[in-house]
Amino acid sequence: MDVGHLPASEFDSAGFEQTLMGSPEENPVPDMVQLLTIDGEVRHDPTYSSYVADLTADELRGFYRDMFLVRRFDEEATALQRQGELVMWVPMTGQEGAQIASGRALMPQDYVFPTYREHGVAYTRGLELSHLLRRFRGISHGGWDPREANFHLYTLVLAAQVPHAVGYAMGMARDRLVNPKLPEAATVAYFGDGASSEGDVHEGMVFAASYNAPVVFFCQNNHWAISVPTEVQSRVPLANRARGYGFPGIRVDGNDVLAVHAVTRWALEHARSGGGPVLIEAFTYRMSAHTTADDPTKYRLSADEEAWLDRDPLLRLEKHLRSRDLVDDAFFEDLREEGRNMAVRLRENVQAMEAPGFEDAFTDVYAEAHPLVREELNAHRAYEAGFADSDADPTAASREHTA
């Protein structure tokens, strides 16, 4: 490929896809699994339709409710950042379909390794949403105990969590060999199209294939790695990469909750039952900025964003629900009220979050006592105690320091 063919920031996505991905014979774009059209009409898929055939009206309304609430959460968190209550925020608006639908496909025994944008998945795991904000308020590098909801901490170094998910999945498979009574389980490694360029995704996939690990790689292709489009990351559709590792790769319409749910259920069953890893590429779009420090108007066209508004996962499910008379206006009004209440509670929770004492930073550097940490803590205490208005006894800390 001639470098001159690389796309500029503003690009015609259809045209560039053809340019960069070679002839259809060389790199066929995989069929995108879609079970709901943009107009909310149901499409039949011979493989995947059966995986959502059992969804009840309540569950469908639940999908909408989930997506609505996490979007409301995302809006509130963005507002909190703008008001100085958070040091930063990573919006996920636009990706609710991919996150809620995949998260709702998980079993309690499954374990999620997120990147830093999986607020919707966290919600489906039952995580208290305000805990997600502790890191972004600048009071913790974590914020929750991952074991409570089988939802790992956010990882900021791109793709580093992908080999962790593979190793954890290898451990799950080993556990079942020792104790076959344990439920079948899998991990899900979430990452984005930008992270897919990182070596850790490659190494993770190699290990997953080598050990047939029960892991689902869930790539949310939201089209932008900050300002760099997917087309600069890959000259083939990301889902096609799975073929090179020897496991299935599925491209799914990430804004179609039914399709994402079906595909993820299939993939998880495949992984849990010993079939090995699966790569899912959820084709979606980040409607907002990469983070609150980003400015998408610098690198993408408003027309592009508007085109994706028509594919909004909430709008699409709303059309479907209304066409089947499964919702009425009161449903949406009640939901808006619920969202408002949630936002109020969230704001109160965040504003009540206080910074830890600096001494806490010394606490968990090591699991076992480390003399250097102890020495520096004591020296710090002695320094703090040296101020005239200090309540502490400086001689006590000093004695400990020199002991």
Binding site: S140, H141, G142, D145, P146, R147, H152, L153, T155, V157, A160, V162, P163, H164, A165, V166, G167, Y168, A169, M170, G171, M172, R174, D175, L177, T187, G199, D200, E203, G204, V206, F207, S210, T363, D364, V365, Y366, A367, E368, H370, P371, L372, V373
Partner: protein
């Protein structure tokens, strides 16, 4: 019970003991299975414990360490082998940004007790990336423990103590001492792996060193004895944490300190020790703390490496400089 064995055999026996006493422990690395590792340190373990516990992995250091972190989060005790010192860097990110920080990031909820074995150091006449000493790069990162045995007794026990440790531990194995023989008492560990040991008593000067240079320092001390100088030798054993008390006590007794390691002098462990001793025992010093280490250059080609590696003569010359004050 005491048995004579090489350091490689001692590590092998220590790994075997760890695999026996910790059913959730496992070894992973490149070529460690049927081949027994390029230095045969894991020889025979796959045959006895099976391919599930002695895993030949794909050639991918970040993958090895990253999956080991995942296994550790699931409750396993992985012991990774990195084939050579200079090949650890593809896994550097996983070690420093993930492994080291898992416990603190999770506010103590999670631990990642991964052990990483790295054969390190020069003197084997090899090619690029096969003779480096990158220990300071890891010691600089909080959350990691760094140890290095210098004899079969320590090698046997320290690997087991590393496996039992709740923190991630990097074990730098001095590869040119793999064939060094010594007695190993397999009945009980004799010391805390994170403490230094005085391996030769002396009254006039102290040499602090670790790993591959311990025998060199002992030989230099023996040579200095002929000149009427009584030199104490401290085997550091642990690079994080560093047992500054043992060093300081020794310096207070002798008044002179030489720190020597194969790693480049600039930014190395020796500088840290010199600074600490200056802070803690300045009035005991008869001379500035001197460092004898590698140079600020890539590890040189094998045909000239003897000029790079600290040897007896360079240590004696440093002692002369110290005594000149």
């Amino acid at each position: 019970m005491s048995t004579t064995m090489t350091m490689a055999k001692a590590i092998n026996a220590g790994l075997r003991a760890a695999l026996e006493s910790h059913p959730n422990s496992l070894l992973m690395g490149e070529d460690i299975g049927s081949l027994g590792g390029v230095y045969r340190v894991t020889e025979g373990l796959k045959a006895d414990f099976g391919a599930d516990r002695v895993m030949d992995t794909p050639l991918a250091e970040s993958g090895i360490i990253g999956t080991a972190i995942g296994l550790a989060l699931r409750g396993y005790l992985p012991v990774c082998e990195i084939q050579f010192d200079g090949f650890v860097f593809p896994g550097f990110n996983q070690i420093t940004t993930q492994l080291a920080k898992m416990h603190s990031r999770s506010e103590g909820n999670l631990s990642a007790p991964v052990v990483i074995r790295i054969p390190y150091g020069g003197g084997i006449g090899s090619i690029e990336h096969h003779s480096e000493s990158p220990e300071a790069l890891f010691a600089h990162t909080a959350g990691l423990r760094i140890i290095t045995p210098s004899n079969p007794q320590d090698a046997y026990w320290m690997i087991q103590q590393a496996v039992a440790c709740k923190d991630p531990v990097i074990v730098f194995e001095p590869k040119r001492r793999y064939w060094l023989k010594g007695d190993v008492d397999t009945s009980a560990p004799t010391s805390d792996p994170f403490s230094a040991q005085i391996v030769r008593e002396g009254t006039d000067a102290t040499i602090v060193t670790y790993g591959p240079l311990v025998p060199v320092a002992l030989a230099a001390a023996a040579a200095a004895e002929e000149d009427g100088r009584s030199v104490e030798v401290v085997d550091l054993r642990s690079i994080s944490p560093i047992d500054f008390d043992t060093i300081t006590d020794s310096v207070k007794k002798t008044g002179r300190l030489i720190v020597t390691h194969e790693a480049p002098t600039f930014g190395g462990i020796g500088g840290e020790i010199a600074a600490r001793v200056a802070e803690r025992a300045f009035l005991s010093l008869e001379a500035p703390v001197l460092r004898v280490g590698g140079f600020h250059m890539p590890y040189p080609v094998a045909k000239v490496e003897e000029h790079y590696l600290p040897d007896i003569d360079r240590l004696l010359e440093a002692l002369d400089r110290s005594f000149a004050y």
